[in-house]
C-alpha cells in the first residue's frame, strides 16, 4: 500500500499534535454559545482536552491489550467497525475545516478586504494538496521545524498585549451553568479530540506504541494549555459581549496590540505565520482521515483519497462562506453534536468482539 506514511519520532509527532491542538482549539466554528452568559471558552478548552486525553489513553490501552499500532488495528475486518470509521473520518474532515475557516475570515475581510473566498481557498488548496500527497512524515517534520517559530510568535503576541489585559473582563465565569458547559464541552470535542485521533490513525509511522502515547500526551497537554492560555488572554482583552459578535477575535487582538505599538507593525506577518500552522494542522487531519479511509476500506494508494478529501474540505469551507442555508444548518448541527460523532463510534470500536465457542461434535 502506498500510504506515504514514512517514519517519525516522538518530538515530531508531539509537535504536530501540539499545533493541531492549538489551532483547532483557538478557532471554534460556532463560538457564539461559548460567550452567551459569560466567557466559558478557556474552561471548556481545558475540560475538552482532558476528555480527549482520556479517550486517547483508553485507545492506547486497547491497542496494548489487543496488539497493534494504530486505530485500524482495532477496527480490523469487522463490517460494523468499518462503518463506525465513517463518522471518525467525517470528524477529522470537519476538524480540518475549522482552522482554515477561522483564518479565511480575517484574510478576506480585513487583510484583502473585498477579495473573494475562492481565490484565497485556491492558494490554501494548493498547499493542502502538496502536504497530504507528501504524507505523514513530511507533515510532522514540517510541524517540528515550524514549531519554534510559531511558539515564539504566539508567546510574543500574547506577552506584547499584557498592557491591554484587564482581569475584570473574564467575568462572569459561567461555572454555575453545568448544562451549557456540558454541551459546549461536547462540541469542543471536535477541536480537542481530532489531534489525538489523527495521531492514532498514523500511529504506524511512530517508533512504537509507547512513543505514540508519549507524543500524544506531550502534544495534547502542551497544546491544550497553550490554547487555553490564548483563549484566556483573549477573554482578558475583550469583554464577552464583544466576543459574542466578533469575527476573527485573534486577529483583532493582534491589531489592538499594534495600535498600542505603532512602530511594531507585524500583525499581518504574525497572522500569516499562524496561517502556516493552520494549514499544517488541516493537512495533518486530512492526511489522517485519508489513512483511516484507505486502511479501513482497502484503498491501496492514499494519494487520490488525500486529493479528494482536501478538495472536499476546502469546498465545504467555501459552501459555508457562501452561506447556503441548508449546508450551514447541517454543518452547525454536526458541530453541535460533535460529541456524538466521536463519542459513539469510539467506545464501540474499542469493544472487543466476543469469540463464539466452537460447537462440540456430537
Amino acid at each position: 500500500m502506498n500510504l506515504r506514511m514514512g517514519a517519525f519520532g516522538r518530538q515530531e509527532a508531539a509537535s504536530a499534535v501540539l499545533l493541531a491542538m492549538f489551532f483547532g482549539g483557538c478557532f471554534a466554528f460556532d463560538s457564539r454559545a461559548l460567550f452567551e452568559n459569560g466567557n466559558a471558552s478557556w474552561i471548556v478548552e481545558i475540560v475538552a482536552c482532558l476528555q480527549a486525553l482520556l479517550l486517547f489513553e483508553a485507545t492506547v490501552w486497547a491497542l496494548r491489550v489487543r496488539g497493534g499500532n494504530d486505530l485500524s488495528a482495532l477496527i480490523g475486518d469487522s463490517k460494523l467497525k468499518k462503518a463506525l470509521a465513517a463518522p471518525l473520518i467525517l470528524a477529522l474532515l470537519l476538524a480540518a475545516m475549522q482552522p482554515l475557516e477561522g483564518f479565511l475570515i480575517p484574510i478576506t475581510q480585513f487583510v484583502f478586504a473585498g477579495s473573494k473566498q475562492v481565490t484565497a481557498c485556491l492558494y490554501l488548496l494548493s498547499c493542502l494538496f502538496l502536504l497530504t500527497v507528501l504524507g505523514a512524515e513530511t507533515i510532522v517534520r514540517t510541524a517540528r521545524i515550524l514549531l519554534p517559530v510559531l511558539l515564539v510568535s504566539i508567546l510574543a503576541a500574547l506577552l506584547s498585549g499584557i498592557g491591554e489585559y484587564r482581569l475584570d473582563r473574564i467575568f462572569p465565569i459561567p461555572i454555575g451553568e453545568p448544562k451549557m458547559l456540558l454541551t459546549e464541552t461536547g462540541s469542543a470535542q471536535l477541536r480537542a479530540a481530532p489531534p489525538l485521533l489523527a495521531l492514532l490513525c498514523i500511529g504506524e509511522g511512530t517508533q512504537d506504541r509507547m512513543a505514540m502515547r508519549s507524543a500524544g500526551r506531550i502534544g495534547a497537554i502542551a497544546g491544550g494549555l497553550l490554547s487555553a492560555a490564548a483563549l484566556f488572554a483573549l477573554s482578558m482583552t475583550f469583554p464577552y459581549t464583544q466576543l459574542r459578535e466578533m469575527p476573527a477575535p485573534f486577529y483583532r487582538m493582534l491589531v489592538e496590540v499594534r495600535a498600542e505599538n505603532p512602530t511594531l507593525r507585524l500583525d499581518r506577518a504574525v497572522l500569516f505565520l499562524w496561517l502556516m500552522g493552520a494549514i499544517l494542522s488541516s493537512g495533518y487531519y486530512i492526511y489522517a482521515a485519508c489513512v483511516l479511509f484507505a486502511k479501513t476500506f482497502g484503498v491501496r494508494d492514499a494519494r487520490p483519497v488525500a486529493l479528494c478529501l482536501s478538495a472536499l474540505a476546502v469546498s465545504l469551507i467555501l459552501v459555508l462562506h457562501y452561506d447556503t442555508e441548508t449546508t450551514l444548518a447541517v454543518l452547525k448541527l454536526l458541530y453541535r453534536n460533535a460529541s456524538l460523532l466521536i463519542g459513539i463510534p469510539f467506545p464501540l470500536i474499542l469493544l472487543k468482539r466476543r469469540r463464539r465457542k466452537p460447537k462440540c461434535a456430537v
Binding site: V111, L131, R141, R144, P262, A269
Partner: protein, 518 residues
Amino acid sequence: MNCWRRSPKETESEGTPPFFARRKARKAHIRREEGKIPKDLGKNRTWLETLFRAAVNTDLILRPLRVGGRVDALAVSMNGMADDKQIADFILRPAFRIEIEGVPAGRIPAYFRAHALAMHETELTDERQTVASAILEGRTAILFDGAGEAILCDTRGFVSRPVEKPENEMTILGPKEAFTENIRTNVTLLRRILKRPDFVCEFRDAGGTNGTKLVLAYLDGTVNPSLLDEVKRRLDAISTDMRLTVGRVEQLIEDYTYLPLPQMLKTERPDRAASAVLDGRIALLVEGCPIAGVLPITVGTLLKSGEDLDMRQPVGTIVQTIRMLGAILSTYLPAYFLALALHHPGQLSSEILETVIASRAMVFLPLWMEMIFLLLVFQLVREAGLRVPGSIGHAIGIIGGLLLGQAAVSANIVSTVVLIIVALTGLGNFVIPDYSAQVATAYYRILLCIAATLAGLLGITVTGLCATAIMCSVKSFGVPFFAPYAPVTKHREHLFFRTRIGNRGGPSDRSNPQRRRA
C-alpha cells in the same frame, strides 16, 4: 568446473534448457579467451596498433627490445602520460642487462619482474583490457614473446597543477590547501590529514567508456554500511560517455532531480572533506576534478563554513548568527517588501511609505517588475564576474554594482529603495558558504517575489510552507535534509549557536554512522 559440463538435471533445475546453457557457456568461454593476451608478440603488436589507431595516433610508443639478448619484448606507453626517464632507467636498462638463460618462456614476465624491475608498483596481468586501460592511464606495459602475460609498471609522469590555495572557499584561520585535478594528489591530501588505518580510499571505475577513476573515501567501521552499499550500487549503475565530474556524478546518483538544492556538498578544501569523513560521511573524488563531493548532507552542512570550529565559541556564535540572519534576510526581504508595498501598505510606517513613494516618483517600471529586474541584473553581474578571469572579474563586480546601479537610478529605471534592498539581499546571499545553495536560494527568492506580487503575504506563506514541506520530505542518500532538527537526533547541531568543543569520542549521529559517540 566449467558451466557446460554440468549435468542436465543441474541446469534444468535453474530453468534453462541444457542446449542453450551449453551454447551460452561456450560463447562466454570464447569471449574470455578473446580477452586474454596471446603468446605471439606479433599478434599483440597488431592488436595494440589496431586498438590505438597507431597509424594516425602518434602518441602511442611501441618500443621493441630484446630482454637479456634472448627474448623479444615490447614496451608500450603513451607519450606525455608516461615518464620517459623512468622507462629508460628502470625498464629498458635492466632489460638489456638481465640474464634469463634457462628460464622458460612462460615464466619470463614473473622472473623479469622479480629480478630486473627496480620499481615499486608493478602488476602482472593476462587481460587485454587491463593492459589497454593501464597504457591510457600512463603506465607502461611490457609484453614478452612466448608469454601470455604482461607487466604493468607505474611510470605515470604527466604534468599536473600543484597544490594551491582554494579560490572559492576562503578561510582566515583554516588551512590553505585545495584539491587538484590529480586524483592521487587528492587522496594524498586526505591521507595527510587522516592518519588512521581504518581510512579507506576505494578506487573504482566511474563507469562508461572513458575509464575515469573515482575514489570513495570513508572510515571503515564508522560509515554506515548500508549507505556505503547504496552509494556503490548507484555508482555501478552509471553508464555514460560523458566526461564525469563530481557535479555530474551527483546528478547521476541523486534521488531528487528537480530539487534546486544540492544533495551533495562540493568542497575544494581537503580539511573540510576530511572533517566530513571523520563524521561518518563519504567523500567522493573524481579524476580530473578539483572538487570533492561529500554525502550525505543536511541543511546544516550547507550553512556551515569550514572554519566555524576554528573560532572561539562566542565569536563563532556571533558569526553563525549573522550568517543565518543574512541567509534568511536575503531569501525573504525582497518578497516581504514587495508584499508590504503592493498589498499591505498599512504595515509600513508613514515615513517609510513616503520614502518609497518619493524614490519611485519618476520610475516607469511597476514595483514588482523593478524588483525582479534588479534581482536578475544582480545574478547577471555575479555570473559575469565569475566567468571572466581574476582582476577583470572584480572590476566587473564593481562596475556592475556601482556604475550600473547609479546609472539605472539616474535613468529612472529603478528606485534607490529597491536598489538598497537588492544590495542587502546580495550581501546576505554571499554569507551562505555553499555555492550551489547560493544559486538555489537566488532562484527561490525570485519565486517568492512572484508569489508576493500575486498574493502578498498569503503568497509568501503558501510558497514558504510548500518549500519547507518539500525540503522536509527530501533525503540526501537516506538522511533527512533537516536532520538533526526534524527528525531530532541525539547530537544537536545549532544553526544559530556554536556549541562548545569537547573531547568527542566518535562522530555525531546526524548522518547515522555505524560507530557514533555516546
